[in-house]
């Protein structure tokens, strides 16, 4: 990777669209400063989420942040959301130019 790039964490959460509000509020409490959402559909343990109507639609949330924020977010997801909601979360390493922005 380009040496000008700073390492950051990209946390991706794919979950039921109906929990968007509380989930974003939880992320904000943890210290996340930005996020991006795309509409999604899919399949998993909780069956077919075909996005035919609001109750079967998913969203895909991306958060670019420091690794400690990503860890805190994962822990919050684990304790509050994993058990009851259709939701997956994964993190990957990415490089950015403006480290102070995220």
């Amino acid at each position: 990777m380009n040496p000008r790039l700073h390492h950051k964490c990209l946390l991706t959460i794919i979950c039921e669209g109906e929990i968007e509000r509380p989930l974003l509020a939880a992320l904000q409490r943890i210290g996340v400063r930005g996020h991006t959402i795309t509409e999604a559909r899919g399949q998993g343990e909780h069956g077919d989420r075909d996005a035919l109507w609001p109750s079967s639609a998913n969203i895909r949330i991306e958060v670019l942040c420091d690794s400690n924020v990503a860890d805190a977010a994962l822990s919050a997801l684990e304790s509050e959301y994993f058990a009851n909601y259709g939701l997956i979360a994964f993190v990957s390493d990415v490089g950015v130019l403006r480290t102070q922005k995220f």
Binding site: E18, I19, L52, P54, S55, N84
Partner: protein
């Protein structure tokens, strides 16, 4: 009893879904049509409301609210005790059945018009009133009196829900503008209503087909519940209608409201308020069983029952 053509659209959607046709109605169209239907129903109700004294509706409203509170309670006891469902699931289902389905109401109104049976336009007010109390009751039932519930966000979620906002907003617009003020909008909100309802039912057919898999998870008990509960609730509704001296048409609408289960406001609110409840059960029962049951069998049956009851008491 002549059959209601809009139901054919529901059956077409159901069929297309079951054969796994590539017919997919975009989610955005679902949203758009449901916004239209909620607003239009509200506006129509508001125009009618302007012709009545609000005070005169207060008494019936209270009686209806009190009787309607029975439905989630009965549902909860049946599901929790008899059906041995988890407390959260029983409570969430109770909330769904205690609340109402706007589309089922619209189909019942359309059934009555088609059969030239008069009903009071202000029934929409009861539709609005019945939408959310059961959701709060469901949360109380789930918590078992515990005090953990964060009522603030819950109330905001429910009262800011799009169905409440559009129905009440529509009511107010219709009430303030009156039939004359709305006239230039009639081409959209009145004339197209039935066609849009047909289109929406096509979509509902597809949605129901995609939820049939949930029925397996729900099991036989819940499928039975999904048919018995509307019958019981409709009976309560008819008796209340009789008690309030409602016309046959208005009684059928009230019975339909009682018999119907919510699948717009309730699923969204329950997902947040009772996270432990499995939505496959409530949606499987409310949408997979009760919605088609009411459309295909329930509404004509409630009409039949209303006619008989009317005969008995006259």
């Amino acid at each position: 009893m002549p059959f209601e053509p809009v139901i054919l659209f529901f059956l077409l959607g159901l069929f297309a879904g079951i054969i796994r046709s590539d017919l997919k109605i975009p989610a955005v169209l679902y949203d758009s049509l449901s916004i239209f239907l909620l607003l239009a129903i509200g506006i129509k109700g508001g125009i009618e409301l302007a012709r009545h004294s609000l005070a005169a509706l207060a008494g019936p409203a209270l009686a209806i609210l009190a009787a309607a509170a029975l439905i989630p309670l009965i549902a909860f006891v049946v599901l929790y005790r008899l059906g041995r469902l988890a407390r959260a699931d029983a409570a969430s289902l109770a909330a769904h059945y205690g609340s109402v389905s706007v589309v089922t109401f619209a189909v019942a109104a359309s059934f009555l018009s088609r059969n030239e049976i008069a009903y009071d336009g202000y029934m929409v007010v009861f539709l609005v009133l019945l939408e959310f109390p059961a959701l709060l009751l469901g949360v109380v039932l789930a918590r078992g009196g515990g005090s953990q519930t964060r009522w603030g966000p819950m109330l905001r979620e429910v009262l800011g829900g799009k169905s409440i906002v559009l129905l009440i907003g529509g009511l107010l617009i219709g009430w303030l503008a009156g039939a004359d003020g709305i006239k230039p909008l009639d081409r959209l909100f009145l004339d197209l209503f039935k066609g849009v309802l047909a289109f929406f039912l096509l979509e509902m057919g597809l949605v129901v087909a995609s939820r049939l898999g949930d029925l397996r998870k729900a099991g036989a008990f819940l499928i039975g519940f999904g048919m018995a509960m509307p019958l019981a609730a409709a009976t309560i509704g008819l008796l209340v209608g009789q008690f309030l001296d409602f016309s046959v048409g208005s009684s059928v609408l009230l019975a339909t409201l009682f018999a119907s289960a919510s699948y717009i406001a309730a699923p969204a609110a329950m997902r947040i308020a009772i996270p432990e409840a499995n939505p496959a059960l409530s949606i499987g029962a409310a949408l997979g069983v009760t919605f088609p049951f009411n459309l295909l069998l329930g509404i004509p049956l409630y009409h039949d029952m209303a006619e008989r009851l009317n005969g008995v008491f006259q």
